[in-house]
């Protein structure tokens, strides 16, 4: 097996940083060992596509373009009127979906390794993100489960509020290191520890 490597391995190796108060009030890390499948349908095939996909996922596709759906451990996000992301830990998910969705009704594309999944955890996570994304993250406006396609450092990405104080940012892999730098820099005053979540690469 070829050894997988992280886009931010070098940055993670440098560890955390004490904040202005000498504490580390945040946890910044990377989620590893996950897979990303992008699904798409054509103008007139939405219904057949939804049926085929739902059969594999075990639930209907979400209608909202801001609230993620959940199918067991899988997270489903509608990223465009005709496109969805399935974020999963299941290695076989892409193949199962590809087998279930005929090319005549839609497409299944394995985009694993195309994104670096950065995690920002802690009570100050919202304050850090306020320095980076022009999105209202107040709990009343951005509840747990919401996601938004936005940008850090003028580069597009997807932000998902995975839990109360846990936000996950899906950065393009080639921008992963620079996005990490921007997040770590914004977190400097609060202090942070680093961590790796999921299967070590």
């Amino acid at each position: 097996m070829l050894e997988a490597s992280s886009a931010i391995a070098a940055a993670l190796a440098t560890g955390g940083h004490d904040g202005a108060e000498g504490r580390r009030r945040l946890r910044l890390g990377e989620r590893r060992g996950w897979h990303l499948v992008q699904l798409g349908h054509y103008g007139a095939t939405a219904t057949g596509f939804a049926v085929a996909v739902s059969r594999v996922l075990g639930q209907e596709l979400p209608c909202s373009s801001t609230v993620a759906g959940h199918a067991g451990p899988d997270v489903i996000m509608r990223i465009a009127p005709d496109q969805y992301w399935v974020v999963t830990d299941d290695t076989g998910r892409a193949a199962a979906l590809a087998a279930a969705v005929p090319i005549e009704v839609g497409t299944v594309l394995d985009l694993s390794a195309s994104r670096t999944r950065l995690v920002i955890e802690g009570a100050d996570a919202r304050a850090v993100l306020a320095k980076l994304v022009p999105i209202d993250l107040h709990p009343s406006a951005f509840e747990v489960g919401r996601f938004v396609q936005t940008g850090v450092h003028h580069v597009g990405g997807l932000l998902h509020r995975a839990a109360g104080d846990r936000y996950e940012y899906f950065a393009l892999r080639t921008y992963g290191a620079t996005t990490w730098e921007a997040i770590a820099d914004a977190a400097l005053q609060f202090g942070y520890d680093t961590f790796i979540d999921g299967d070590p690469a």
Partner: protein, 986 residues
């Protein structure tokens, strides 16, 4: 004056927290709660600087952001900031400040002599005097004039501080935390909104801060603060100024953190620019007191009456013991009464025949000497005021000795922010001031900024707009009753006269720019009648204060001179920022390595660890060359080229744009996008393609591979990857939504590496044992996808270098592992990595066009690709390609160039001329790319030349004006090597 003026009691300062600071190398002391201005006044410092043009001695005029005179240089070394208003600078321990614009000192300023030459330095003096004797003479004078003029001097050292930006959101934004703003925030907060209340001061309260301790106003402030603090949904931002209001209820704020001594090493920002998006905006910005126009009204010790009261009651500083208060309205009476209460001798000169109810009696009880229907003519004194000259209308001048003069010419609503989105202020004759123009839906104004003078009315208005704003954003909570005040402010007033009072001495309108009533008259005489022309002719209203105390008076003087109404005269356009903002704050963290995002290939860390010298290429950081090949790029790239031409090398091509195209109609889609046919491209094959813009210029080129019936893998140039992706999405969503195709960028999904050279097949055979890579199995332009050690591998037999070559693609996370494996397995063949410089040079030898030639101005024919265009199908750009200009003979077209003078250089960007013509103008083309040819042992180039290869064999001249170089070259075929393609098919 050096007499300490701090009162033993009173004020809002914290005497238990003394602070020391350095002023002009003297250590002085103040208290927490002081501004630098109040601390200096408390230490008896009255002369605060020299004026901009005439170097006249100046003292503080105001106590807030409107201060025109009291500008200091704050800080030292790299942290030195010039022209900072001392009136808004919070005192902190160890603060270093100094006065400006005086030599050898502000106290004894030689340049004050210019004041004697003032008759020659009227408005427009520089423009009239320094234009001659020749055209361009201004450039000679300018450095000297600039050295003589100006106030403080900025440091040339790098700013060591950290600045940030952040985003914020609110249902209701309240700008200004005076009584009106507090009442508005209180109401909106009680209704359940998310409220943000911003206040530029370090204390809330606005005008209430100027009330005596223990007064009903002070009690009201405490109550309002407590009410607001009790609301968890109201965020209060002190030391935060609203700089500008923009479309979409977007307001830019600046937060200042100097008071907390931010440490950049700890990530603490000195200033933060906040982009706040609000559901609705309430303007509660108050009003600014106006000056009065009389002779030598700029003497230190002449200050706004409101400022006298603020220094007295908020900072416990008695700015004088013998005071003259001159006014045309009731508000200044408060200053007179409060001063008298401290034991000062106060004379009040009121231009009116009488004052508001009860004021006369209160003045009598306080011992204030009141004189009605009198007007100031002149201030007496030099470096501090010593008295005033005043007179009744048509009466003889009389003098009064004093050590401070408080003046009040009325109040001008602070409406600047309301103008930022367009509405022009409207002159209100009854108010004798400009009011805000019509508000946009969802914007509100209340209190003094709307011209309201009564405290209770301001509170009522604040409460009402707070409730209305809450309703506007859908909040339905009960707001309850509004706040009530126990005492009321005197509100009577009379219009200020539009002319200066009789008497001698300069009557300044704009103190900061040394603009007098005489300058306005001169502007009028010379035809600069409109307020906009007046501003530019005299510089009135410019500078750090932007004429906050000057604009209304200036407009009135000009309107009077023109004999028109103020409503016709109007006012200048207020633009952001409301107060000065540092460049550092605007830049935020977009400095140094954070200036822009950097894109790294999956093998980046390997490159760094293995001697690569990196280079920025657009957003990408790519290996430029490797240390194994040489210490300089000039030496290294030639060695790397030799390696590829003679053995095998590997280059990181992950930056190439990669697009997944799939669906039943993918072939049709590609057939329309590319000029050449793709519909019949068989699975397992790739094809070079070119796509055009709508206007038939070349958009991009690249190779698209077909892996199965419905799945294509397109590669684009690195530079055009984003544009091509957007173009394809646009076509599918707008032009051809009926096509059953999905596209997705997979640039980040796949790591790419080009293995090139005569031994490339052998190298990959070693890396992928068991995979048949024979010419028969995988011919030129053949592609294959297979699993290797659990990983999908895409192998495309393509060549950018002109050699036998393959592109290997694997998922990005195993890119480094695959890269390392190929290098390790093929090591016996001498494989080594090569960088971007040699990659680009190899393609020049082969004559492949790239980003430098694909500049959206060239057609297929210009680039020698005309034969690729299909004649049997439609494609984007086909119709417009028939335009006459695009078919015109003599268009600049692709050529190869070889150097004819070996001792000289060919340079990219050189302008091309025929051999015997004059080297003038734009020439007949230019060089796009240059390299040393290892095959030909000479410099070669690609370029665009008028008529292109019709001139093959001709000698031309390449001019490089930047270095004044001229060199001869010959036009040749752009394909310098292997024109029959034997190598790529090997």
């Amino acid at each position: 004056m050096t007499v300490p003026a701090r009162l033993p009691t009173g004020g809002r300062i914290d005497r238990a927290r003394p602070l020391s600071f350095v002023f002009d190398h003297r250590r002085l002391h103040g208290c927490a709660g002081d501004t630098v201005a109040s601390a200096l006044l408390a230490n008896g410092v009255q002369l605060i600087g020299r004026s901009f043009k005439y170097h006249r001695p100046r003292g503080f005029l105001a106590a807030g952001v409107e201060e025109p005179n009291g500008l200091l240089t704050i800080g030292e070394g790299a942290r030195c900031t010039p022209n900072v208003p001392a009136t808004t600078t919070e005192l902190r321990e160890g603060l270093f400040c100094r006065r400006q614009n005086g030599w050898p000192s502000v106290d004894f300023d030689v340049m004050a002599l210019t004041s004697w030459l003032a008759p020659f330095f009227g408005a427009g003096f520089y423009y009239k005097t320094f234009m001659g004797p020749r055209r361009g003479s201004w450039m000679m004078y300018e450095p000297f004039i600039r050295r003589a003029a100006g106030l403080g001097e900025a440091t040339h050292l790098p700013d060591p501080d950290r600045y940030e930006t952040r985003h914020a959101f609110a249902d209701v934004l309240v700008i200004g935390a005076g009584p009106t703003g507090l009442a508005a925030a209180r109401a909106a907060g009680r209704a359940g909104c998310r409220v943000t209340l911003v206040e530029q001061d370090f204390e809330l309260g606005g005008s209430l801060l100027s009330a005596p301790a223990g007064s009903s106003d002070a009690d009201l402030l405490a109550t309002l603060e407590a009410d607001v603090a009790a609301l968890a949904n109201v965020e209060v931002l002190r030391r935060t100024t609203a700089l500008g209001v923009y479309d979409g209820n977007t307001v830019v704020l600046v937060e200042r953190h100097d008071h907390a001594r931010p440490d950049p090493a700890k990530g603490e920002a000195r200033e933060v620019i906040v982009t706040l998006r609000a559901g609705t905006i309430i303007h509660a910005t108050g009003a600014i007191e106006r000056s009065m126009l009389f002779g030598d009204n700029d003497r230190p010790g002449v200050m706004l009456a409101g400022a006298v009261r603020t220094y007295l009651n908020r900072y416990a500083v008695a700015v004088g013991q013998t005071a003259v208060i001159a006014t045309n309205n009731d508000s200044a009476w408060c200053a007179a009464l409060d001063l008298a209460a401290t034991g000062a001798h106060v004379t009040l000169l009121d231009e009116r025949a009488g004052a508001g109810a009860g004021l006369g009696e209160a003045a009598r009880r306080a011992g204030v000497d009141v004189r009605y229907e009198v007007r100031l003519r002149r201030a007496l004194g030099g470096r501090s005021v010593r008295g005033v000259e005043y007179a009744r209308r048509d009466g003889a001048p009389e003098t009064l000795a004093c050590d401070v003069v408080g003046i009040s010419g009325g109040w001008a609503p602070t409406l600047h922010l309301t103008s930022h989105t367009g509405p022009k202020p409207v002159f209100d004759t009854a108010l004798d001031a400009f009011r805000p123009g019509p508000f946009a839906t969802g914007h509100y104004g209340a209190g003094a900024m709307m011209g309201t003078r009564s405290l209770q009315e301001s509170l009522d208005e604040g409460h009402a707009v707070g409730a209305a704003a809450a309703r506007h954003v859908g909040a339905t909570g009960a707001v309850g009753a509004g706040p009530a005040c126990a005492g009321e402010w005197p509100t009577g007033h009379a219009p200020s006269p539009p002319e200066r009072s009789p008497g001698t001495g300069k009557a300044f309108i704009d103190f900061q720019n040394d603009v007098t009533t005489k300058d306005v008259a001169l502007a009028h005489e010379e035809g600069y009648h409109s307020v906009e022309h007046l501003k530019r002719f005299t510089t009135l209203g410019m500078g750090t204060d932007q004429g906050k105390t000057a604009n209304v008076d200036a407009a009135k003087v000009m309107a009077s001179l023109r004999g028109i109404e103020m409503a016709v005269a109007g006012t200048t356009t207020y633009r952001p920022p409301y107060t000065p903002v540092s460049v550092g704050a605007l830049a935020g963290r977009s400095v140094g390595t954070h200036f822009r995002a950097t894109r790294l290939t999956p093998m980046h860390d390997w490159h760094l660890a293995n001697g690569a010298v990196m280079i920025q290429a657009g957003p990408w950081l790519r290996p430029w060359y490797y240390g194994w090949a040489g210490k300089t790029v000039g030496a290294a790239y030639v060695e790397e080229m030799k390696l590829v031409r003679s053995g095998v090398g590997m280059s990181d091509v992950s930056s190439l744009g990669k697009i997944d195209i799939r669906g039943p109609d993918a072939a049709i889609f590609l057939d329309r996008v590319y000029v050449n046919a793709f519909a019949k491209l068989p699975a397992g094959k790739a094809r070079y393609g070119v796509m055009l813009n709508d206007d038939a210029t070349v958009l991009d080129d690249g190779t698209t591979a077909r892996f199965d019936e419905h799945t294509y893998f397109m590669t684009t140039t690195t530079a055009q990857a984003g544009e091509v992706m957007s173009w394809l999405e646009f076509l599918l969503q707008v032009a051809w939504p009926e096509l059953r195709v999905q596209v997705a960028s997979v640039t980040d999904r796949w790591a790419g590496m080009s293995v090139a050279g005569p031994r490339a097949r052998q190298a990959l055979q070693l890396a992928f044992p068991g995979v048949d890579l024979s010419n028969e199995s995988l011919p030129y332009m053949g592609v294959r996808e297979f699993m290797f050690q659990g990983t999908t591998v895409r192998l495309l037999r393509l060549s950018f270098s002109g050699e036998l070559a393959y592109e290997v693609y694997v998922p990005a996370d195993v890119g480094t592992a695959m890269w390392s494996r190929i290098l390790a397995e093929a090591a016996p063949l001498g494989i080594r990595p090569y960088g971007l410089e040699s990659l680009a040079s190899l393609r020049i030898e082969k004559g492949h066009v790239a980003g430098l030639e694909l500049d959206h101005r060239n057609t297929l024919e210009d680039l020698g690709l005309g034969k690729m265009a299909s004649k049997s199908k439609a494609y984007i750009g086909r119709e417009l390609a028939t335009r006459a200009n695009l078919r015109r003979p003599g268009r600049w077209s692709l050529v190869g160039l070889e150097l004819l003078e070996p001792t000289k250089k060919l340079r990219g960007g050189s302008i091309l001329f025929n051999r015997h013509e004059a080297l003038e103008g734009h020439g007949r083309g230019y060089i796009t790319s240059v390299t040393w040819s290892t095959e030909h042992q000479k410099l070669i180039a690609l370029g665009l030349f008028e008529g292109g290869l019709a001139h093959e064999g001709e000698e031309i001249v390449c001019a490089y004006p930047l270095r004044n170089e001229i060199v001869r070259a010959r036009i040749v075929s752009p394909m310098f090597i292997d024109p029959t393609g034997e190598r790529v098919h090997a």
